[in-house]
C-alpha cells in the first residue's frame, strides 16, 4: 500500500484536490457574498448555493467547453465552476460594468458567451425550453454537443417542465436535465408540491432515462453525470438526473425559515459535501494534511482579488442604459 500510493497519488490526488478546490471556491465565494450583502455591497436578491456545491462541481465535469449550460438564479456555483472568473462574477454582483453582464443582471443573471453560459434565469422553469432549443440547434447543425440545464425540484411543477422534457424526448435531443432536489421550493416542501415525489420516476414517465443521485457526494455526482453525458453524446437522447441535496442557507436573504427546523438543517449539515469529502479523501490518502490549508490560502487570495476587482470597478454610464435593448448594427 504505502509503496503503491505515491505512484497513484499524483493523478488520483489531483482529481480529488480539484473537486475539493471547486467546492471550496463556491463555499468561500458565497460566504463572502453573504458578508458583502450585509455590508450593502451586493443588493437585490441573493440565493446561496452553500450545501449544494457537490452538484455543480460534479456535474460540470461531464461537460466540455463546447457544451452549453443553462442555470437558475441560484447559479454562482455553476458559473464559477464553468469557468467565469470570480472577479467577473463579483463585479456583476456589485453592479459594476466589469461584471459578466455589465452589472445589469446581478446575482440572478450571470451570463458568459465565452463559456456558453446562457444565464442565470430567474423565472422558475424558464430556462428549460431555451435549453431544449440550444440542444435542437446542435442536433440540426450536426454538432455533437450537450446542453446541461440546471433547475430546482420546484420547477418540476411548472407546466413548462412538462412541455420541455416531452419535447426533448420526442425529438431525441442532446439535453442533460439536472434537477437539483434540495427538498424545498422557498418554503414549500416537495411533498406539498408534487403528488409523486420520486422525481426520477416522474421523468422516466416521459421515456427519458433517469436516475436519482446522492447529491452530497461529489464523486457520485461526477460519475452519474459523466455516464449520462456519455449516453447523450452516443446519440441516446436526453437524460434526467435528480441530484438529492440540501440548501444549508435560507432561500434568499429575506427568508425567516419558518418552514423547516434547525434540527433538520443540523442533520443535513452532517452530510456537508465538503467536510465529508475531505474526511474520506484524507483517510484514503488522496488529500494530504496540508492540502486543505494550501487550498484555503489559494482560494482566499482568489476571492480577495475578486473583491478588490469589484471594488475597483466602475459603474456603467447612465447614457448606456438603452444600449443593447436592440443589437448594435454596423454603420
Amino acid at each position: 500500500m504505502a509503496q503503491v500510493e505515491p505512484a497513484v497519488a499524483p493523478v488520483e490526488g489531483e482529481h480529488s484536490l480539484d473537486l475539493l478546490r471547486q467546492m471550496l471556491r463556491i463555499r468561500r465565494f458565497e460566504e463572502m457574498c453573504a458578508e458583502l450583502y450585509s455590508a450593502g455591497k451586493i443588493r437585490g436578491f441573493l440565493h446561496l448555493y452553500i450545501g449544494e456545491e457537490a452538484v455543480a462541481v460534479g456535474a460540470m465535469r461531464a461537460l466540455t467547453p463546447e457544451d452549453a449550460v443553462v442555470a437558475t438564479y441560484r447559479e454562482h456555483g455553476h458559473a464559477l465552476v464553468r469557468g467565469l472568473s470570480a472577479a467577473a462574477i463579483m463585479a456583476e454582483m456589485y453592479g459594476k460594468v466589469q461584471g459578466c453582464s455589465r452589472g445589469r443582471g446581478g446575482s440572478m443573471h450571470l451570463f458568459d458567451r465565452a463559456t456558453r453560459f446562457y444565464g442565470g434565469n430567474a423565472i422558475v422553469g424558464g430556462g428549460l425550453p431555451i435549453a431544449v432549443g440550444l440542444a435542437l440547434a446542435d442536433r440540426m447543425q450536426g454538432r455533437n454537443r450537450v446542453t446541461a440545464c440546471f433547475f430546482g425540484e420546484g420547477a418540476v411543477a411548472e407546466g413548462v417542465f412538462h412541455e420541455s422534457i416531452n419535447l426533448a424526448a420526442l425529438w431525441h435531443l442532446p439535453l442533460l436535465l439536472c434537477c437539483e432536489n434540495n427538498l424545498y421550493a422557498m418554503g414549500t416542501a416537495l411533498e406539498r408540491s408534487e403528488s409523486e415525489t420520486n422525481l426520477a420516476g416522474k421523468a422516466a414517465s416521459y421515456r427519458v432515462p433517469s436516475r436519482a443521485v446522492e447529491g452530497m457526494d461529489v464523486l457520485a455526482v461526477e460519475a452519474a453525470s459523466k455516464d449520462a453525458a456519455e449516453a447523450i453524446r452516443g446519440g441516446g437522447g436526453p437524460q434526467f438526473l435528480e441530484y438529492r441535496t440540501y440548501r444549508f442557507r435560507p432561500h434568499s436573504m429575506f427568508d425567516a425559515e419558518l418552514y423547516r427546523s434547525k434540527e433538520e438543517i443540523q442533520e443535513w449539515k452532517k452530510r456537508d459535501p465538503i467536510t465529508t469529502f475531505v474526511a474520506a479523501e484524507s483517510a484514503a490518502g488522496r488529500i494530504r494534511p496540508d492540502d486543505l490549508a494550501l487550498l484555503e490560502k489559494e482560494i482566499a487570495a482568489e476571492i480577495a482579488g475578486a473583491v478588490a476587482f469589484a471594488e475597483a470597478g466602475s459603474w456603467e454610464s447612465v447614457e448606456d442604459l438603452t444600449r443593447f435593448v436592440y443589437s448594435e448594427r454596423e454603420g
Partner: protein
C-alpha cells in the same frame, strides 16, 4: 366612510394582512391560495401568521403552477367560493394570463350572463429593489386593457386596508396590484379603517398650476415632487388613479379643467403605457381646456437593470417628476 376614532401606526403590509384577516373572518367562503402564502408566510410576508389562525385549507400553499392555481381560483369562484389568489409578482402572472383573459374575464359575457367569476387576484408589481429584469415589470397597464375585470392599485394605507373587502363583494374578477416598494411604508391608519370605494380616483393633494396624475408606487414620489414644486411656488394637484380599470375619467378631467396642464407619471414602459390611455382620454374630453399637450413621464423602454444607478435612472423619481413638471409649465401658452 367612518369617522376616525383614534389612529394606530402601521404598515402597508400589515394593512393588507388586516384586510385578509377581516375577509377570512367575515366570509367562510373566502380563502387565500398561492405560492408560499402559508408556511413561508408569503414572499412579502403579507400573509404571515394567517396559516396558524385559519389553517392549511384556507391558507393554501400551492406548487409552482401559476396557470393551474389561477385557473383553479376561477373554478372555485364558479363553484361558490370567494378565492383570493396571490401571484408572487406580475412577472410570473404572464404564466396565468391565458386563464385570466380567456376565462376569468370572458366567461360571463360568453355564457350570455350565466356564469360570473367572483375572484380576487393579488400580486406585487414594480421596480426599485434591484431585482433586475425578470422581477421588476409594471404590467398592470396590460391588465387594464381587459374587458370583464376590474384593476386596482392601492397606493395608501387606507386603500391597502380597504380595497380587498370591496373587491370581494364584486361579482366579477378584481385584480389588486401592490407595488413591492410599498410593503414597508409606514403611517397612521384610523383604528376603525375599513372597506373603501373602488370606483373613484382621489385627489391626494389639491393644486392649481398643473395636474400630476399617477397611481401605485409612484404616488409617494409624485407627492414628494409636489412638495419640491411647492417650495418653488408651483401649486401641483396630485391625482391618484386608484382604479386602473375602469378609469375614473371624470375626476381626471375635472382636475385638468382646473389646472389646464397634465403630467402623467407611470412606472410602465412608455410606448403603449396606461399613461397613453389617460393622455388620450384627456385629449378626447378636455382638448380645449389644455394650455399645453398632456405630458408623460414613464419608465425608460429597457429591461430594468440590476445596478442601482441604472435602475434609478430607468424609473420615475421625485427629481425627474419635478423636472418634467417644470418643463410642462414652460411649454404651451
Amino acid at each position: 366612510m367612518a369617522v376616525a376614532v383614534g389612529t394606530k401606526h402601521t404598515t402597508y403590509r400589515e394593512a393588507l394582512r388586516a384586510a385578509l384577516r377581516e375577509a377570512l373572518q367575515r366570509d367562510e367562503r373566502v380563502f387565500l391560495m398561492g405560492e408560499d402564502v402559508g408556511r413561508y408566510g408569503g414572499c412579502y410576508a403579507v400573509s404571515l401568521g394567517l396559516l396558524a389562525e385559519f389553517g392549511p385549507e384556507r391558507i393554501r400553499d400551492t406548487p409552482l403552477s401559476e396557470s393551474a392555481f389561477v385557473g383553479a381560483g376561477i373554478g372555485a369562484a364558479l363553484g361558490g367560493m370567494r378565492p383570493i389568489v396571490e401571484i408572487m409578482t406580475v412577472n410570473f402572472s404572464l404564466l396565468a394570463l391565458d386563464q385570466i383573459l380567456n376565462n376569468a374575464a370572458t366567461i360571463l359575457h360568453m355564457s350570455g350572463g350565466q356564469f360570473n367569476v367572483p375572484l380576487v387576484i393579488r400580486m406585487a408589481t414594480g421596480a426599485g429593489r434591484q431585482v433586475a429584469a425578470q422581477h421588476s415589470h409594471s404590467l398592470e397597464g396590460w391588465y387594464a386593457h381587459i374587458p370583464g375585470i376590474r384593476v386596482l392599485a392601492p397606493a395608501t394605507l387606507e386603500d391597502a386596508r380597504g380595497m380587498l373587502w370591496t373587491a370581494l363583494l364584486d361579482p366579477d374578477p378584481v385584480l389588486l396590484f401592490e407595488h413591492a416598494t410599498l410593503y414597508n411604508m409606514e403611517g397612521d391608519l384610523a383604528a376603525d379603517a375599513g372597506p373603501v370605494d373602488i370606483d373613484a380616483a382621489a385627489v391626494r393633494r389639491a393644486g392649481t398650476d398643473l395636474s400630476l396624475i399617477t397611481y401605485g408606487g409612484t404616488l409617494s414620489k409624485t407627492l414628494q415632487a409636489a412638495d419640491e414644486l411647492a417650495s418653488a411656488g408651483v401649486s401641483a394637484e396630485v391625482v391618484d388613479l386608484r382604479t386602473l380599470r375602469p378609469l375614473d375619467t371624470e375626476t381626471i378631467v375635472a382636475s385638468v379643467r382646473k389646472t389646464h396642464r397634465a403630467l402623467i407619471i407611470d412606472e410602465g414602459w412608455r410606448s403603449g403605457s396606461l399613461a397613453a390611455e389617460v393622455g388620450q382620454r384627456i385629449m378626447e374630453t378636455a382638448f380645449y381646456d389644455l394650455d399645453a399637450p398632456v405630458a408623460r413621464l414613464c419608465t425608460a423602454e429597457v429591461p430594468i437593470p440590476y445596478a442601482r444607478h441604472l435602475e434609478e435612472a430607468a424609473i420615475p423619481q421625485p427629481a425627474s417628476i419635478a423636472q418634467a413638471a417644470r418643463a410642462l409649465l414652460k411649454s404651451g401658452g
